[in-house]
């Protein structure tokens, strides 16, 4: 498998050509979707093999390699997110929560949620909604005594309003550790649990959760269809699947700029900030290999979800896919 040492400008294209040449030598055929050099180019691989960035590895190897990538970046994960996306990832996650619009009492499962970004936002959202609801209730009962009013504000202070709960599940213990530390630091304690688990084989019973989210995690899963089936299994009837993931940019000019930024700037940032060039090279390559919006939507429908829709953010850099188990 090819190792890429970045050369100015043509690095990525050379890399893709090399990749294709290798594959055609080894496997005798390749499939390229004519959408540009590497955005969306998918090489067909033999059984039991999959992609790790632009490399081809066996499926068992991929799991291990991904684990090592995240183990090494765990401590700097949040800082890197901020610097790579110029802070925009916060907006993306906020938009995801807004689309989810969780009702108090929702049970959320956040898979590959390592450092807890989605979980914390969920808790904030549910709390602010609850305060709004209490105010509405109090407005309609104008004759409450002061005692009753103070009681209604104090109620549920120790638990999350309405019994909402979020379970953060991640395959990587290091990421969960960072997440727990963050939770302690920010003061989130109630309604939050941390579980180690594999997205392809979730350690939960059937029909347990109202919402299943996976933010920037599903492209690292070896068997995406299995992860989708597991998502279907653990959701209650009527439950919602939400996936926030990098996707294909639809604007060709913007796509060139984006590619330039991805392959030239991000690994360098990775080296400077996290001391890890290769992990971030893997990151940008894995983005290119992930299926485009429509294809992913079809995969979600295959798993049995209905009313599957997607929404592009930042002209396609990121997309939110949503489906319901009906």
């Amino acid at each position: 498998s090819a190792k890429f040492t970045p050369l100015p400008k043509m690095a990525a294209s050379i890399g893709a050509v090399v990749c294709r040449a290798l594959h055609s030598r080894r496997h005798g055929k390749f499939l390229s979707i004519g959408r540009g050099l590497f955005s969306g180019a998918r090489c067909l691989v033999a059984e039991g093999e999959t992609h790790f960035g632009f490399q081809t590895v066996s499926e068992t190897e991929k799991g291990e390699k991904v684990y090592h990538v995240f183990e090494s970046v765990a401590k700097k994960y949040d800082i890197m997110n901020d610097s790579m996306s110029l802070g925009i990832h916060r907006l993306w996650k906020d938009i995801l929560l807004h689309q989810m619009n969780p009702y108090p009492g929702t049970q959320l499962l956040d898979v590959a949620g390592g450092t807890g970004d989605i979980a914390f936002r969920f808790i904030n959202y549910v709390r602010s909604q609850w305060e709004h609801q209490i105010r509405q209730k109090l407005k309609s009962h104008q004759n409450l005594s002061w005692q009753e009013i103070s009681k209604s504000y104090q109620e549920e202070e120790l638990k999350l309003p309405g019994g909402s709960q979020v379970v953060v599940c991640d395959i990587n213990k290091e990421m969960l550790k960072v997440g727990k530390q963050k939770a302690q630091h920010l003061g989130y304690s109630e309604g939050l649990s941390w579980v180690v688990g594999n997205a392809e084989e979730l350690p939960f019973n059937d029909s347990k959760f109202d919402v299943y989210t996976i933010a920037f995690g599903i492209r690292n899963v070896t068997h995406i269809d299995q992860a989708l089936q597991e998502a279907y299994r653990v959701l209650k009837p009527g439950g919602r699947f939400l996936c926030l993931e990098f996707s294909q940019v639809n604007n060709p000019l913007f796509s060139r700029l984006y590619d330039l930024y991805s392959f030239q700037v991000i690994p360098v940032l990775g080296e400077i900030i996290a001391g890890d060039w290769k992990s971030y090279q893997y990151l940008v390559e894995s983005i290119r290999h992930f299926p485009a919006q429509e294809e992913f939507k079809a995969m979600i429908e295959d798993a049995g979800f209905l009313k599957v829709e997607y929404r592009n953010l930042t002209s396609g850099i990121v997309a939110i896919h949503s489906g319901f188990k009906l």
Partner: protein
Amino acid sequence: MTLMVSVSVVRCPLYPAQRAFHASALLRRVSDEQKQEPPPSSSQQRFESHPPGDQPDQEPQRSHHSYTDQGGEESEDYESEEQLQQRILTAALEFVPAHGWTGDAIAEGAKALGLSVAAAGMFHSDGSELILHFVSQCNSELSNLLEEQQKLVQLGQAEKKKTDQFLRDAVEARLRMLIPYIEKWPQAVSILLLPHNIPSSLNLLTSMVDDMWHYAGDQSTDINWYTRRTVLAGIYNTTELVMMQDSSPDFEETWHFLENRIADAMKMGITAKQVQLTGEALVQGLMGAAVTIKNLAGLNQRR
């Protein structure tokens, strides 16, 4: 129908056979549907542009007769997304007095049906679909009511009412359906006036008014058709507004107001005719006067 079908049918042949099966089942169901289904009643289907297709349902115990009653041949286990959405919205109506016309009521409705509260995510968070569903439901109830009354008249069991009495009763019956929700109704009206809802709400209003005039026996084919509907829509809307701030027992003030407005409208119709006749008479009088003056001035003589 085409909307539903295109989602499932256009896809890459590389994908597993399961989806192809889904699609063919869907197509078969839809084509069956089209043969069986009678033309949908105008007021109910107006804002739902496609008739229900079908998708296999995961839980057989949730089956029950479909909302639109397709006929005995349809298997009870299959329920389309639209039918499920209808069920959720109907269940949500119960929670409206407590939660208002919002996504919260829809979430409670979903919970009441045994679904997860996340199912409310299928709808807008501002509750628009819930209100439109309710209005459409009321309209079809009204249609049925008027239809029954008409049947009774045709069978000779009841007397045919005069137009103004008929309209008064129809509007009163329709407005009475709002009574259980009257406290939160102002909120609903304001949501219906949002730009993205105006096409649908206007549609529902015009179809309701159309229905009322149809059963009142209107057969006009000229400008009257438009003026009558506009007038009735105006009467309905103003009466609705009065009702929202009426605190008299059993809304007596509102019915009184309605009576006056309809009387006004009738008078207006008569007055318009009178004005026209008067105008004609006046013109003829003037013409006569002009001829007389010309005679007196000797201009009419032919020399």
